[in-house]
Assembly symmetry: C2
Homo-oligomer: 214 residues x 2
DNA sequence: CATGCGTATTTGTGATCACAATTACCTTTG
DNA sequence: CAAAGGTAATTGTGATCACAAATACGCATG
């Protein structure tokens, strides 16, 4: 069955899934970009069977859309859908941050500050992919403390769906805007200020909405 | 490619997915029940290829769990996980109900009351599967009015994960308890009472939690 | 130059097979 | 009677192939 030995090997379709998922979530693909079974199969030197599983799984999570004829492509979201996904992010991420708050010790805050510095570097370089990845890493690091794996998995699915769109939106994003809301989040974490934390997280998540509502 | 003609045909793997998904969501399978590729393939007279896609997709949504050796089975949830999923339900369903409220006209309330009657019948018959299905139909009918497909899809994934557990829990459920909280929901809908609606939905969703916390 | 039309290529689907690993069952042994 | 060992059956994985549908391309026609 070619399963894992120790903790290193992975099934081919799982490896494909993780790789493609990262590409999509971190904005390495444009909205509407087509993906073919044989194209991916050739790139990774496997047959179409494991590719089909990986693409179907991604499609099931909303990371890919399937045309009426069965073709795969990254989703091109409508404004309504983007707004809804942002609202879903706000809903769940505020809850996750609240649950993480009582468990957020100094070591965590320091790690978050370190990640925040990486985000600033990415912003300075105008590196969209690194920006998106480190930004999500900031949120994921915080939410991992919430000890709520189902909620985290759900919000990651939302991130996945928004990946290509976030990349496309990054072009018209702020220029010299280091993570402002992240500083508010860190301050609230240090002060143990739950209402302030909720407001800061909500603001950070819905921030990207403004520049598309026009 | 064997795609749809008009609006009736479905690809084999999609048909499998929908059928198995209903079985799981509506509590027709026990927690921990094993599912095999060739078993399903024989039951539906197809090869293992489409079965694999359907099972993998269900596993990706949390409807099935995969053992370390790759075997499929319905998930046996821990109490912590159940509690988290219920909290996630409450979070999203309160939002969906709130969004549906301004669009809930009399015709919708009447449909909900009709579904409620079906629930009472299922309770009287002690028919667990019908109870679960009609109960979810009540919620889905309301939430469809929210015009928030991503949120609805997310909460349906949660329902899916809880399906087998809900069935197992139904045995120790109330006996002669017709949908009490549903009446509160309907009353709040008629009165346009948003705070009351939110409380009623949250109570209905977290209700089932009490009987397992012991 | 634009518009159909027909052919060739591309693409996803499902069946089948070989394979390796896990699991189940039965026999043997203490 | 219980535990251990070994064989047989079961199971998921991935490759390959045939097929049908959709798409792309080129040619002829107005």
């Amino acid at each position: 069955m070619a399963e894992k030995l120790q903790d290193s090997y992975l099934a081919a379709h799982d490896q494909l899934y993780r790789t493609l998922r990262m590409r999509i979530m971190y904005g390495e693909m444009r909205p509407g970009q087509a993906i073919t079974l044989r194209g991916v199969a050739e790139e990774f030197s496997v047959s179409v069977t494991p590719v089909r599983e990986a693409l179907k799984r991604l499609a099931a999570e909303g990371a890919l859309s399937i045309s009426v004829s069965g073709r795969f492509q990254t989703p091109a979201l409508t404004n309504d859908r983007i707004e809804e996904l942002a609202a879903l992010r706000a809903l769940i991420e505020v809850e996750l941050a609240t649950r993480a708050l009582p468990r957020a010790h100094m070591a965590l805050v320091e790690r978050l500050q370190s990640i925040n510095n990486s985000i600033s570097v990415a912003v300075a370089r105008a590196d969209a992919v690194t920006y998106i990845r480190t930004n999500l890493e900031f949120h994921r690091t915080l939410y991992l403390r919430a000890q709520a794996p189902a909620m985290l998995a759900t919000v990651e699915t939302v991130w996945l769906q928004m990946g290509p769109t976030m990349r496309a939106l990054y072009g018209r994003l702020q220029r010299k805007d280091p993570p402002m809301h992240h500083r508010l989040i860190l301050a609230a974490l240090k002060a143990g200020d739950e209402p302030g934390l909720r407001v800061a997280v909500r603001a950070d998540v819905t921030q990207g909405l403004r520049m598309l509502a026009r």
